[in-house]
Amino acid sequence: MSEISPAEWTAILLSLRVAIMATLVATPFGIGLAWLLARREFWGKSVLDALVHLPLVLPPVVTGYLLLLTFGRRGLVGAWLADNLGIVFAFRWTGAALACGIMSFPLLVRPIRLSIEAVDRRLEQASSTLGAAPWQVFATVTLPLALPGVLAGMVLGFAKAIGEFGATITFVSNIPGETQTISSAIYSLIQAPDGDAAAGRLVLISIVIAMGALIASEWFARRATKRLHGN
């Protein structure tokens, strides 16, 4: 196996940055939404639920195209954000993170929701009789007990963010050093007849990254389970 080229290093580091950013930013939103879906009844809940799953159902290119129309520099939201808050997603690594975050969002939300639904409400009741306000109940009982789900969601989301490429390349293109992640680099390489070896090398690197994330998450999950079950 030959050396990793500087351009490949750039793509690897960018992928890590994008996937970590996407996962970290999406997680709090994911937790909030999962809680809403698990514990509240409200009008339009099914629609919200469907909306969350949308990036899974649509071909990634479609999601990327919709992102381009919405968050592009000339897009509805994109123009407003750029003019008023100075936040630019278009053709920046932040845009890649946005695309990855949205694509992995359904994978993040579901396991968290599942875990929140499984939390024993009698413990939440006990917490409230001890003086915990609803947000304290959530922070000190519900969320810690749903931790395995949060970890599972984060791993799925992170893995997806590493592998995402259809929406990303459609939204922010494939600009080396700015928006070219490992996955889009693999795509470029595969497009060239002699790129298979280099692509294979990058595939191996993706696998190693994902393995690392998995092993880390298993380790955390094991600790969390130990804590929960006391042995």
Binding site: R74, F91, S173, Q180, Y187, Q191, A192, P193
Partner: protein
């Protein structure tokens, strides 16, 4: 000044090999940093429409260049129909099929037997569009239509043939040339399909340097490289 010394090219993914080499030559000569974003022409055209920071657009077909021009995002006078290509019939290296004479009434369907014919999607992938046009012109489309396996891009079609999954394939000659697992068994006559053209142009937001780059693409130095990869050079090279 550092800004002046860099260019961003949006290029069709199928150009990667040749363009990488040309960019290296250009960068060495002019000290300009070239960044290329390779993706589907459709994605690139739409991104430019949405204000992508591209200086030059290299499309794999005329449709998407026209689309971009229609959206007023291309510096129209700078457009050049730079390269041409041809489409060829390929078969796996070890196939018994060889030396097919492609002309009016040629029976592609019988040639394929119970195998499949791989090409790019005939609705969306340029190579597929040309293949369909050619076969229609030659009167072979109707019989063969059922046997087509339409791949997501030319590379995928090429892989299907190289792996022996498909009995035949129709791809660009440039791609066929680079894949050792296939052999060319026939070439489609140039008049059987619309001219295969790769237009290049600067965007309306391009840096001045872009025109210099476009000029380089038309140079003899560039021609040598494009020739090497099997592209037809459609303009008279400048030195």
């Amino acid at each position: 000044a550092a800004q002046e010394k860099s260019l961003t090219i949006f290029a069709a993914a199928s150009m990667k090999n040749a363009l990488d080499e040309i960019d290296a030559a250009y960068a060495a000569k002019n000290g300009v940093k070239i960044t290329v974003s390779y993706a589907a022409s459709s994605a690139l055209a739409r991104q430019i429409e949405q204000g992508a920071p591209a200086d030059v657009f290299i499309s794999a077909d005329i449709d998407w260049m026209d689309y971009a021009i229609g959206k007023k995002t291309i510096n129209e006078p700078s457009r050049v129909n730079l390269l041409g290509n041809s489409i060829v019939l390929i078969a796996p290296k070890d196939s018994k099929i060889d030396n097919v004479n492609i002309g009016p009434g040629f029976d592609l369907s019988r040639l394929a037997g119970d195998g499949r014919i791989a090409t790019g999607d005939v609705k969306s992938v340029p190579a597929g569009k040309y293949a369909k046009a050619a076969l229609q012109k030659l009167g072979s489309w109707q019989a063969a239509e059922q046997k087509f396996a339409m791949a997501v891009d030319v590379r995928a079609a090429l892989t299907l043939v190289a792996r022996g999954e498909a009995a035949l394939g129709i791809v660009y000659s440039t791609d066929a040339k680079a894949e050792p697992g296939v052999k060319v068994v026939g070439t489609f006559p140039a008049d059987s399909h619309p001219a295969i053209i790769y237009p290049v142009a600067a965007t309306t937001t391009a840096k001045p340097q872009a025109l210099n780059y476009l000029a380089f693409l038309r140079s003899t130095a560039a021609k040598t490289i494009f020739d090497k990869y099997g592209f037809k050079f459609l303009v008279s090279p400048s030195t």
